[in-house]
């Protein structure tokens, strides 16, 4: 019916579109500043499809066209195709094992000629849709463990494939789906446990096991002492405190050493420790002796390389100071000191060229975008749209937080892009589709979708 044909731009959330555009353009400028040299002919380079910034420019045009198509699509199509697309995504990932191309150590790319496609990246969209579809099921009781297990299976299947392909970073992204699940009723204990373990893990990396065990014991006694009245009234509290104390002590005293000795490979453990600037205390000397000198050398080289990346990244950001060195004037950016600066370390060029105000502004832009998406999520009538919006917000948040944490030295080096800023067609187009499906769904927020 002619009247039902959605009018482009009607009900569309322009704020998100503006934020999207500002971020992508910022990204283009940053990639430009990484690659540009005074001798370059800018116009020729942009048209030439040779330089990364010109490629990214064309990817942007492609992304706009795709975005228009997405916005023009009927919202119902997304619910209808959710499960099918998810299946296709999984098949693509599996296909990668057969026809995949190896780029930078991970065999997760399918060459398409004009660009390389990373199915795991695309699968984020499909998984979001599939999760939304599953949680929007009318008779679903998400409090039942079975439903929780199915949702987890849905979410972590691509992640497991991704780990098998050597893309640990992308696999971690799938953890962000826990947030929409939490929003939909997943008991918070899972998240609290997860977060607590993460915090404990970091603490146990920084301090020796003995110190921590003593500290925990002292803390437990102190808490008991100051709450003795409440404890007298309610003996369950004592039990709770003891349980927390036991959990912490066991985690730090047994679980962490066990993991580092037996689960992680030596170099992985080293990498994690080097991130916090401590020597690996669990290093097993015998392990090293078993390695051939070449292997040892290769591993050392790899960890040195990681350290070098983070060091250079910190130098670039730190040297930016309050006001930055000015666009195209960053000595570290122009001197190619930061490896992978146009992709995973693009944040460093913002830090160096524009300084503290630039990085803060960028953080605010991202935070604004994410909070805006959450606000949009909450105004949806249909669960499908809301869950999907939360998925988008969580994925964005996870990418931004982890990527920036890596560049400023708060997290070990995980290969993960900065959404909309990093160079790469796969990443840009994925995030464009993610966002514009949301915009489409939001435009139809009065409609109930299933």
């Amino acid at each position: 019916m002619q009247q039902k044909q959605p009018e482009l731009g009607k009900g569309v959330d322009w704020l998100i579109i503006w934020l999207y555009a500002i971020l992508v353009v910022t990204g283009l400028l940053c990639i430009f500043s990484v690659e540009y040299r005074a001798t370059d002919e800018v116009l020729q380079s942009i048209l030439g499809f040779k330089k990364n910034y010109s490629k990214q420019f064309y990817y942007f045009i492609a992304a706009i066209i795709i975005a228009v198509f997405v916005v023009l699509t009927d919202s119902k199509l997304f619910t209808a195709l959710a499960n099918l697309s998810y299946l296709t995504g999984i098949l693509l990932i599996i296909a990668t094992f057969a026809v995949g191309k190896e780029i930078k150590g991970s065999k997760s790319w399918i060459p398409l000629g004009f660009m390389n496609l990373q199915p795991v990246e695309l699968c984020k969209i499909f998984t979001s849709l599939a999760l939304a579809k599953y949680l929007a099921m009318q008779d679903l009781d998400f409090k039942r463990p079975k439903a929780q297990l199915i949702a987890a299976g849905l979410v972590f299947t691509p992640a497991i494939f991704s780990i098998l392909q050597g893309e640990t970073g992308l696999a971690l992204v799938y953890c962000s789906f826990l947030i929409p699940m939490y929003r939909e009723g997943l008991p918070p204990i899972y998240l609290i446990l997860g977060a607590a373990m993460a915090v404990l893990l970091v603490i146990s990396l920084l301090f020796s096991t003995k110190t921590l065990l003593i500290t925990f014991a002292v803390l437990a006694v102190l808490v008991m002492f100051f709450n003795k009245r409440q404890i007298r009234r309610n003996s369950k509290l004592l039990l709770g405190i003891v349980a927390v104390w036991a959990f912490c002590s066991l985690f730090v005293g047994v679980a962490v050493p066990f993991t580092f000795k037996h689960v992680f490979k030596k170099y992985q453990a080293d990498r994690i420790f080097s991130m916090v600037g401590v020597d690996n205390p669990f290093a097993d000397k015998a392990d090293e002796e078993n390695l051939s000198p070449e292997e040892l050398k290769a591993k050392q080289k790899k960890s040195e390389q990681q350290n070098y990346n983070v060091k250079q990244s910190k130098i670039a950001i730190g040297s930016g100071g309050l006001w930055g060195k000015g666009f195209l004037k960053g000595t570290q950016t122009q001197g190619d000191f930061v490896p992978e600066q146009h992709t995973d370390f693009i944040f460093t060029s913002v830090g160096e060229n524009f300084g503290f105000w630039g990085t803060t502004l960028l953080l605010l832009l991202y935070l604004g975008l994410i909070l805006r998406i959450i606000a949009i999520a909450e105004r949806q009538r249909s669960t499908f749209s809301r869950v999907y919006a939360y998925c988008v917000a969580s994925i964005l948040f996870f990418h931004v937080a982890v990527n920036i944490c890596v560049t400023v030295g708060l997290a070990p080096v995980i290969g993960i892009t900065l959404p909309l800023l990093s160079y790469g067609g796969s990443s840009l187009i994925t995030f464009t589709i993610l966002l514009f499906i949301l915009i489409r769904l939001d435009a139809d927020r009065q409609m109930v979708l299933r």
């Binding site: 040299r37 939490y182 950001i317 040297s319 000595t331 990085t359 953080l363 939360y390």
Partner: protein, 711 residues
């Protein structure tokens, strides 16, 4: 349904915001409170490039450039850019085969990496340059030519005066802190290059460059906003006559000795020959390593600038000064006569004289009569005007100091020696206080014994006599283009006239000296049409207590009425008399300088004759032989080498420790080689320990040592 979970929105938002706050705190820490990252970034991302200005040019008195800059080229290579280049053609031009080429390339890569450019072939010869220039486009961009300024010596003469540049060593850096030198810089090592380093060097410029992760310079920082431009070195105008210098070096070849000529009116040094000399270009750049050891070990000491660093007894040339003292003290008049009956008997033991007869002052100078001047000095020392010999010798000392002897003149050539004028303290030390009188040092009166002078002092003393009582400190540089900002030339403006001696006294001495050339001992220095005044000297000398052939001296000035050149020449161990070799050499020099050229065929032939004459004393040949045989002598070789090096070090002032080590190592190696070869029959070795002083004898005389005739 899930509606009741709406409050969780806030939890999620808070967690998101919380994480962002943590990130922000770390960013604040990095960007606002960690200045070390700025420093680290500058260290690796910026490069302070020093721009070397052109060094100043040195001109001679006729505005001919005698030390200037030329550009040579280095062939540079960037190994990661040479793919697909026609290396065969390049090899052909460079005269390499493909394995040599590959080896060189590997060398370069090992040294400097693939992506940085390094020197593939340095200081290309003109022929290679010409061939390369034509086809350089074929080898780009992997290979390119880089300019490299070097010093050039258009006349190939005056190495001892001009000096050369060499890389600064740690000692130099220590002594010149705060003057902007860095390791790898070049600085003047000897000669003018050293004395006028400050002026010639110019002012360095600084460019700030961006540097990339492979240590390559990419572009100027902020388009050169913080750069300072280099200021070229100042040119020097010297009083040197380079053609005269060339003639002097030609005449002095195959001889040991020196010629120094001064313009008496200005004190400007016209030529300063030290023989044997070295070619300065042999000691620059890559040539240095090849030649320095050989020059250091050469027993003729080519690196020693004899004109200022060698000291000799002045011999009879000293008599002119004694005449001045005697006349001015009033102990003699121009008509005072003494007779020589074959010896001077004033001190009991006779001192020989050669010209029997009775002479007045003029004739005594002309014929260089020993007795006459022994009497003059005896009268000066035993002058009743003064209470004792101590005070009268001190008076005599003051005359000598006024004549420019006994202390450094302050010439602008490095390593000047001060010579020696004996003082009462000298003799107190030798004979004991109160145990000496004139007879203890009577030979000083004829320029033997404890008197030591450098050639430049003798030439200056001639200028003093020519000027009738004053001199200006001899110097090479007359003016500095753009002004003498460092006050380097201020000492070369004043006339030194500490004792007023009337012109009439000088006239008498001039008469005597003209007589020397016209009809006396120095007739060989006559120049047609020019009144030359001169004085010969035949200097007895001892080398480790062994009498050596006499040094021949001749000094003088010309023309008598309007002196334009004061000159001295010494030919070491030439034997015979001062008039034999030194006098004719001075004659040619005066003729060349005053007449601008020598055209007379007979004279030219004589020049060739003298320049081909080999007067290197047998001592040197013995030394050379000994050096060869040092390889047989076990332990002395190393010591001698060390001795040599010490001497050279004293003269040059500085020397690279590395070079010293190289030289010593070479000696050591030779020694060991021969030890191996000689192992079975080394019973004689112990007897052949040789000690050498390798430099002119210091003439430390024991009391009562023979003193005899000198012309």
């Amino acid at each position: 349904m899930a509606e009741y979970n709406q409050s969780r929105k806030n939890v999620i938002s808070l967690v998101f915001a919380g994480v962002f706050v943590i990130i922000l705190i770390q960013i604040i820490n990095l960007q606002l409170f960690s200045p070390k990252y700025k420093i680290m970034a500058d260290d690796q991302g910026k490069f302070r490039k020093v721009i070397y200005p052109e060094r100043g040019i040195v001109f001679d008195r006729n505005r001919r450039a005698i030390l200037q800059n030329t550009t040579t080229y280095d062939l540079m290579v960037t190994p990661n850019k040479i793919k697909g280049i026609d290396t065969a053609a390049l090899c052909k031009i460079l005269g390499l085969d493909s394995t040599q080429f590959a080896r060189k390339l590997v060398d370069v890569i090992v040294r400097n990496g693939r992506s940085r450019s390094s020197t593939f072939d340095g200081l290309l010869s003109v022929e290679k340059m010409a061939m390369l220039n034509e086809s350089m486009y074929k080898f780009a961009p992997g290979f390119y030519l880089q300019e490299r300024p070097v010093r050039s010596y258009p006349y190939d003469a005056g190495g001892n005066i001009l000096g050369y540049l060499s890389e600064v060593d740690t000692n130099f850096l220590k002594n010149h802190k705060g003057e902007g030198y860095q390791m790898g810089d070049y600085a003047g090592k000897t000669g003018i290059e050293r004395t006028y380093e400050k002026v010639l060097m110019g002012q360095r410029g600084i460019e700030y460059w961006k540097r990339d992760n492979k240590n390559r310079l990419t572009e100027r920082l902020e388009k050169g906003m913080y750069d300072t431009a280099a200021i070229a070195g100042q040119n020097l105008y010297t009083s040197l006559d380079i053609e005269l210098q060339e003639l002097g070096e030609k005449l002095m070849q195959n001889k040991l000795g020196s010629i120094v000529a001064i313009d008496p009116k200005t004190g400007g040094i016209i030529c300063m020959v030290s023989s044997p000399t070295f070619k300065p270009r042999f000691l620059t750049g890559s040539e240095r390593k090849k030649h320095i050891t050989q020059l250091l070990l050469d027993p003729t000491l080519p690196l020693l600038n004899r004109s200022v660093s060698a000291t000799y007894s002045p011999g009879s040339t000293f008599k002119t000064l004694q005449a001045l003292v005697g006349l001015h003290e009033g102990v003699i008049t121009t008509s005072t006569r003494y007779s020589c009956g074959g010896a001077f008997y004033g001190c009991g033991k006779p001192m020989r004289c050669l010209d029997i007869g009775t002479f007045d002052l003029r004739h005594a100078i002309t014929l260089s009569d020993n007795t006459y001047f022994a009497n003059v000095m005896q009268k000066v020392i035993n002058n009743p005007k003064y209470p004792n010999v101590d005070s009268s010798l001190r008076v005599w000392n003051n005359y000598m100091y006024a004549f420019g002897l006994g202390h450094r003149l302050g010439v602008d050539v490095p390593s000047e020696k001060k010579g020696n004028i004996p003082t009462p303290a000298t003799y107190d030390k030798i004979f004991g206080k109160g145990h000496w009188n004139f007879c203890s040092f009577r030979s000083v009166s004829i320029g033997q014994g404890e008197v030591d002078v450098t050639p430049i002092q003798v030439a200056n003393e001639m200028a003093y006599i020519a000027n009738k009582g004053w001199f200006i400190t001899p110097h090479l540089v007359d003016s500095i283009e753009g002004g003498d900002t460092y006050g380097l030339l201020t000492n070369f403006k004043d006339k030194h006239r500490s004792i007023d001696i009337p012109d009439s006294i000088f006239e008498a001495v001039h008469d005597g000296m003209q007589g020397v050339v016209d009809r006396g001992t120095g007739m060989a220095s006559r120049v047609a049409g020019i009144k030359v005044c001169g004085k010969t000297g035949t200097v007895e000398n001892y080398y480790r207590g062994v009498k050596q052939p006499n040094h021949g001296f001749f000094c003088g000035f010309a023309p008598r009425e309007d002196p334009k050149i004061a000159i001295m020449c010494v030919v070491e161990n030439s034997g015979r008399f001062g008039g034999t070799y030194a006098a004719p050499i001075v004659g040619f020099m005066i003729e060349k300088y005053l007449k601008d050229s020598i055209t007379d065929k007979a004279r030219l032939e004589r020049i060739n004759y003298y320049s081909n004459l080999n007067l290197i004393p047998p001592r040197i040949y013995a030394e050379v032989r000994r050096q060869d045989s040092l390889r047989h002598a076990k332990d002395s070789a190393y010591l001698i080498a060390k001795g040599y090096i010490k001497v050279i070090k004293d003269t040059l002032g500085t020397m690279d420790e590395e070079e010293e080590k190289d030289a010593l190592d070479k000696m050591k190696k030779d020694k060991e080689d021969t030890r191996k070869r000689q192992a079975p029959k080394d019973s004689t070795a112990k007897n052949s320990i040789i000690k050498s002083e390798a430099i002119l004898p210091s003439d430390k005389r024991k009391p009562g040592q023979a003193d005899s005739a000198a012309h």
